[in-house]
């Protein structure tokens, strides 16, 4: 039996009053990996950025409907709190260039004005880097700049940075699209491990990736949710004709 952590109800998101995401309703389940797939421009990023209220940072952005995190509408909470509970990893690795690896991992606390003791910081850094499968590779270079790492390592550093503030949900917006196949492989493995700790929502336009990592898959098309269900089921017996066409590479 699945328990629901996030409920989306009749949710739409707009740019200049034009809807990029239309009337989506769906539940996300605790400690599961949900993939959101669909052709480029179908509103995946807009949707996922609405889940931690990053969407509203775009000028003239708007939303309607509700998104409930543990039964509380996130649009009635402070966006600061929402973003701390729902972490995000972006398409291109973006470690903070002025900070060391160590400081990158603890930056969530520093940015939130939370003071930690040296001991607390050390253990958070080690714990987060281990969870992000990066500890062994960087433990001797913690005080070097994060930007010296390879692309895949940088992306894992960003995952560690997001995990460090102990979010309930981790959003990943095409986290491997800027990486080579080898790095992609290691990130995918990591994502599967992550579901022990957090609920994962991953956007991808790579069908195979969705099949490899996710428990559930949602198919978005032209801003609408076409189909949503267990990944195995959807990939073997899609209900909607458009899903089938997408999965068989007819478009997108």
């Amino acid at each position: 039996m699945e328990s629901t952590v996030l409920e989306v109800k009749n949710f739409s998101a707009f740019y200049d009053r034009v809807a990029a995401v239309r009337n989506i309703s769906m539940d996300f389940y605790t400690n599961r990996i949900t993939a959101i797939m669909g052709p480029s421009g179908c509103g995946k990023s807009t949707f996922i950025r609405s889940i931690n209220r990053m969407h509203e940072l775009t000028p003239n952005a708007g939303v309607s409907g509700e998104i409930l995190l543990d039964k509380v509408n996130i649009y009635s909470m402070s966006p600061i709190l929402v973003r701390r509970k729902i972490g995000m990893v972006f398409q291109r690795p973006n470690p903070f260039p002025t900070m060391s690896i160590y400081e990158n991992v603890t930056s969530g606390y520093r940015l939130n004005g939370i003071k930690l003791s040296k001991h607390e910081r050390d253990s958070i850094v080690e714990d987060s880097l281990r969870k992000a499968s990066l500890w062994d590779e960087v433990k001797d270079y913690l005080h070097r700049k994060g930007t010296f790492l390879s692309g895949g390592q940088q992306q894992r550093l960003c995952i560690a940075r997001a995990l460090a503030v102990k979010p309930e949900i981790l959003l990943l917006d095409e986290p491997t699209s800027a990486l080579d196949p080898k790095a992609t492989n290691s990130i995918e493995k990591l994502i599967v491990e992550l579901k022990q700790t957090v609920t994962v929502i991953i956007v991808t336009h790579n069908i195979a990736q969705a099949a490899r990592v996710s428990d559930y898959t949602a198919f978005l098309f032209l801003g609408e949710l076409i189909e949503y269900g267990l990944t195995d089921k959807m990939f073997t017996t899609p209900k909607d004709k458009r899903t089938e066409e997408y999965l068989t590479g007819k478009f997108g």
């Binding site: 402070s78 600061i80 709190l81 939130n112 004005g113 939370i114």
Partner: protein, 281 residues
């Protein structure tokens, strides 16, 4: 936890208000400057002010026609020297970007641009006034020409760099000689940018005073002779402001009004040209 967030949100708002306040404080001096120049200037300005010569102390009235004519004379003379030279150097820089000379030239341009204008005044003094034995309009123009040169070179270079290579190649492939390609094709395509640069440099030098103090020097009479001292609006403002006579102060306010208007018109025209004639590639 929630308390902490409230505090941070308050901090954020205070910061934003502070930034807005600090930014808009700048409006105060601007307002005060334009307000006073308008208020004091407008009362001394009329047709006589623009076409008459200054009167000796004690007599009321009098105008600044000699300074207006002098200003125009100086900036036209400097343009004659600087515009062709500046455009040519700008063309050289954009055409030979990777050459060693281009690198050195652009560094020199940047350095010349940073030289304090009073130092340029001394240069023109040593080069022109000293050998000729007198203050002259010519020496003032040389000083101003040096000041405007970097602006023209840079705007020409920056404009021409944006012109696609294909345009030049297309013309060259038609068998047009290189110099004609530059003069007939490249320069006209960059005309608006170059013109904008020239107007901005004119705006800059029409307000320059320091380099004229010991070159053009100033002159209470009308003078059209290149080899004699000449007055200019900024010089007149400086000399009259330092005088003890209230009538002269009001003439200086009037001259400030005229000078600001001139600078504004030049700047606005430059902006307008940049916007309207912008060639899209």
């Amino acid at each position: 936890m929630n308390n902490g967030i409230k505090l941070r949100i308050i901090k954020n708002s205070i910061f934003k208000i502070l930034v807005i306040l600090v930014s808009f404080i700048l409006v105060i001096p601007l307002f005060l400057i334009f307000f006073y120049i308008f208020k004091m200037g407008i009362s001394s300005i009329n047709i006589d002010f623009l076409i008459n010569l200054p009167k000796p102390v004690g007599e009321t009235g009098g105008g600044v026609s000699n300074a207006i004519i002098g200003t125009f004379m100086l900036i036209i003379l400097s343009s004659i020297v600087s515009v062709p030279l500046g455009i040519a150097a700008g063309v050289f820089l954009s055409e030979n970007r990777s050459s060693k000379l281009a690198g050195i030239t652009s560094s020199c341009i940047e350095i010349i641009q940073g030289v304090p204008s009073i130092v340029i005044g001394i240069i023109a003094y040593v080069w022109v006034v000293k050998p000729m034995g007198s203050f002259t309009a010519l020496s003032g123009s040389i000083a101003l020409a040096i000041i405007m040169l970097p602006v023209i070179v840079k705007s020409t270079e920056e404009t021409l760099i944006l012109i696609p290579h294909s345009l030049k190649e297309a013309a060259l492939s038609l068998g047009v000689p290189y110099y004609k390609v530059i003069i007939r094709v490249i320069l006209p395509s960059g005309l608006s940018g170059i013109l904008t640069g020239i107007l901005l440099s004119l705006a800059r030098i029409s307000g320059e005073t320091a380099p004229l103090l010991f070159t053009a020097f100033g002159n209470p009479f009308m003078n059209l002779n290149l080899l004699k001292p000449v007055n200019s609006l900024p010089l007149l403002i400086f000399n009259y402001a330092a005088s003890p006579y209230p009538e002269w102060h009001s003439i200086a306010w009037g001259a400030s009004f005229v000078l600001i208007a001139l600078v504004l018109v030049l700047n606005l025209t430059a902006k307008g040209i940049a916007r309207k004639w912008k060639v899209q590639f």
